[in-house]
Structure formats: structure tokens, C-alpha cells
């Protein structure tokens, strides 16, 4: 086996060289190098200042938490869309007419309370205008559940807190006028969650899903 050249000596292979193959000069150089760093390693470095952690913590501001974004009402968004598409009014008119027909056909469809997911987090908003609409979420691990939607300005007019009920469910009743609403749950103040028991969902403008509620 040939002796390593100086280049190899100081390259990566310094870590696992067979030192029996080195020349005396190379051995001396390596040993001097190793000794230098043994000394440096053993040299105690000073400690961070005594009030290091306190100083850092005193200069930290609480991190801003993501807030549910107030979403413009359906009417506002519709007007914006029409403003951005001035020549599409007639198309919209046709679409609105078609939606009305579809609505007439499908309005009798109601969410099936039994169909709500009961594994993990699941929920159901049940439409019952006389007593209010009941929002139910199955979230046994949650410490707080809010419902936000266009009926309460997406929380800006006061998010409604669901109350813990039996079997890991959370419930709240809200009186709503007949109409179609978008809503979502906010779990533990940070997790935006579409209602898994809702019949329909739509994409919001922020990459999340909202649930659709129809109150008659």
C-alpha cells in the first residue's frame, strides 16, 4: 500500500487514515494538529450570561395567531365578480336562472343527522329555524370550538362558542333567518375546519373549505 500524499492527509481521509502508513513527518504533523484541537476542545469556554434566557424572553412578543379571515358576504362577492366581468352579466343571469331551477329541485334535501362522522372530528349543522340551527362537532380532544360564518361576520361580530356535550361532542344553537350560509369551525383557536357532516362545501378564497348551510 502506498503512503498517502500530503493532499490526502489533510483531506477528508484525515478522519480515518491508517496512520501506520504515514511518514514520520506526516505523523508528526497529524499529531500536532490533533493535539492542538484536543487542547482547544478541553479549553473551557465562558458560559452565556446569567440573564441570557430572561433577556431573550423579555424581548419576545407573543406570536400573532392566525385569525379567521372575515369573508365578504355572498352578495358582496357577487357584485365584485360582476364588476370584474362587466360583459358576463347575461351569462350570470342564465346561471342564476339555472341555479334557481336546481334549487327548487334540491331544496328538500336535508342533511342526514345519522350520517355525521363519529370518528375523529365530525359534525353536523342541523337546520331547525324554530329552535335555532344546531351546530354539532365531534371533537373529543378539543379544548375550544367556535363556529364562524357569514351569519356572524366570520367571527368579527362575535364567534359563537360551542359547549361541550356528551360523548366528545360540542354543540351550539344559533337562530338564523332562512337563507344560505357559509360557515366553518375553529378548533382550539387555530384549526380551521369545514363541517365534515355538511352536505356541501366550497373553497374559500384562502385555500380552505367552508361548509354550506341552507336554512328554510
Amino acid at each position: 500500500m502506498s503512503k498517502p500524499r500530503d493532499y490526502e492527509l489533510w483531506a477528508e481521509r484525515i478522519d480515518d487514515l491508517d496512520r501506520t502508513q504515514l511518514t514520520v513527518e506526516q505523523t508528526n504533523a497529524i499529531e500536532a494538529f490533533d493535539r492542538a484541537f484536543e487542547i482547544l476542545k478541553k479549553t473551557p469556554s465562558p458560559e452565556p450570561s446569567a440573564d441570557f434566557t430572561r433577556s431573550v424572553m423579555a424581548r419576545l412578543a407573543p406570536r400573532p395567531q392566525p385569525q379567521p379571515q372575515p369573508q365578504p358576504s355572498l352578495r358582496t362577492r357577487l357584485l365584485r365578480w360582476m364588476h370584474a366581468h362587466p360583459f358576463a352579466g347575461w351569462q350570470f343571469g342564465g346561471a342564476a336562472f339555472a341555479a334557481m331551477i336546481i334549487g327548487l329541485v334540491f331544496v328538500p334535501l336535508q342533511p342526514d343527522p345519522i350520517g355525521a362522522s363519529r370518528s375523529g372530528i365530525g359534525s353536523m349543522a342541523q337546520s331547525a329555524p324554530a329552535a335555532g340551527t344546531e351546530f354539532v362537532l365531534y371533537a373529543p380532544q378539543a379544548s375550544e370550538v367556535l363556529v364562524v360564518g357569514d351569519f356572524n361576520g366570520w367571527g368579527s361580530a362575535g364567534a359563537v362558542k360551542l359547549q361541550p356535550a356528551a360523548n366528545g361532542t360540542w354543540r351550539a344553537q344559533i337562530k338564523l333567518n332562512p337563507g344560505q350560509y357559509q360557515y366553518a369551525f375553529v378548533v382550539n383557536g387555530k384549526q380551521w375546519l369545514a363541517d365534515p357532516g355538511a352536505m356541501r362545501h366550497v373553497d374559500d378564497d384562502f385555500g380552505r373549505k367552508n361548509s354550506i348551510l341552507l336554512v328554510m
Binding site: A29, A36, K41, V56, M57, L60, G189
Partner: protein
């Protein structure tokens, strides 16, 4: 109510911080401040400046916590931030030439290993000599030698801290070793 203790893993503490539990960050600071400080101090060689830079690094880490994706250890990430800040601090500071004042420090070296009086050489003097040799290297070389040969990080961890490739780190380490070896030999020649 979220709970944590001194034994809570870094990843959980980071998540708690992200969720707004400010005080969880104090556990992270307490846990890693010494390691981060040591790395920065070895590179900068100035206690007060290292302390300031490390505090700034932890504050930046907290503010940029959303950018920490757990692809490396939390301490490695804070070291990366601290080394960046250390580099900024060194920028503009006049770098001393490699061999200047070498004779001054060489007086601390023993004339030969068997020279009995030299045995009395204080360990701290020897350490100071080695540190002064290290201080004479360009910061880029000093960084890799500190990380590799004193703090014993892997090349992969060093690549993360120095924000470069493993190949670049190896090349830079090789050159730094050569530079340090030259200093060391020059020092011994002066002492002979």
C-alpha cells in the same frame, strides 16, 4: 391548557410556541443556549459579542419559527442563524494577516517536548496559543474547524449550518486544515 416540562421534546415545544405558548420557548432557550454560545464564541472569540449575537439568534428563531420545518435539529437551525449573524458582525472588521504576531505567541511554546522547564507551561497559555492560531484563520476556515474538530458536528449538519453543500463543506474543511497546519508549523519553526 398546554403543559410542558424540561423533558418535552424540541418538536413539541416548537409546536407549542407556534400555537402561541410563549413560555414554551424559554425551555428551548435554556436547553440550547450553551451549545449555540460555545459555537459562536469559538468562532468570534469575544464573550460579550457572542452573548449578544446568540440572544439575537434566539429572538430571530422565535420570530421565524414558521420557517423551521424540522429537517434538522432545532439547535442546528439556531446555530445557523447565529453563525450568519456572527458573519455579519465580522464583516467589515479588518482581518489580520495569517502570520502576523506569530513570534509573539510562539514564545509560549516549549522548545522541545522533553524540555523539563517547559512542562511547567500553564495549560491556559498553551490553550491561548492554539486559540490565537485559530483566530488568525479567515472566519470561513475558523467556522469549519470549530464545527468539525471542536464541536464535532457531522459534515451534513455543518452543511445545514453554513447553508452550503456537503461537498463545499468538505473542501473548505480541507483547506482550513491545511491553513491551520501551516500556522502550526510556522509556529514551531519560530520556537525552534
Amino acid at each position: 391548557m398546554a403543559n410542558w416540562s424540561e423533558g418535552t421534546p424540541d418538536e413539541e415545544l416548537v409546536e407549542l410556541c407556534r400555537a402561541g405558548h410563549l413560555q414554551a420557548f424559554s425551555v428551548l432557550v435554556e436547553r440550547h443556549k450553551r451549545k449555540v454560545f460555545q459555537v459562536v464564541y469559538r468562532v468570534l472569540g469575544n464573550e460579550a459579542a457572542s452573548d449578544d449575537i446568540c440572544q439575537e439568534a434566539f429572538i430571530t428563531a422565535y420570530q421565524k419559527l414558521d420557517l423551521f420545518h424540522g429537517r434538522c435539529k432545532f439547535s442546528t437551525w439556531v446555530c445557523q442563524i447565529a453563525l450568519n449573524k456572527g458573519r455579519d458582525a465580522l464583516r467589515g472588521v479588518e482581518q489580520r494577516t495569517v502570520h502576523e504576531d506569530i513570534a509573539e505567541v510562539a514564545q509560549f511554546l516549549p522548545a522541545s517536548p522533553d524540555d523539563e522547564p517547559s512542562r511547567r507551561l500553564e495549560a491556559d497559555q498553551e490553550a491561548r496559543l492554539m486559540q490565537s492560531l485559530l483566530d488568525r484563520l479567515p472566519p470561513a476556515y475558523r467556522e469549519v474547524l470549530v464545527l468539525k474538530h471542536i464541536e464535532e458536528y457531522s459534515y451534513e449538519e455543518m452543511a445545514i449550518m453554513l447553508e452550503t453543500s456537503v461537498t463545499n463543506v468538505k473542501t473548505r474543511t480541507f483547506r482550513a486544515r491545511e491553513a491551520f497546519r501551516n500556522l502550526l508549523e510556522g509556529c514551531h519553526e519560530q520556537a525552534a
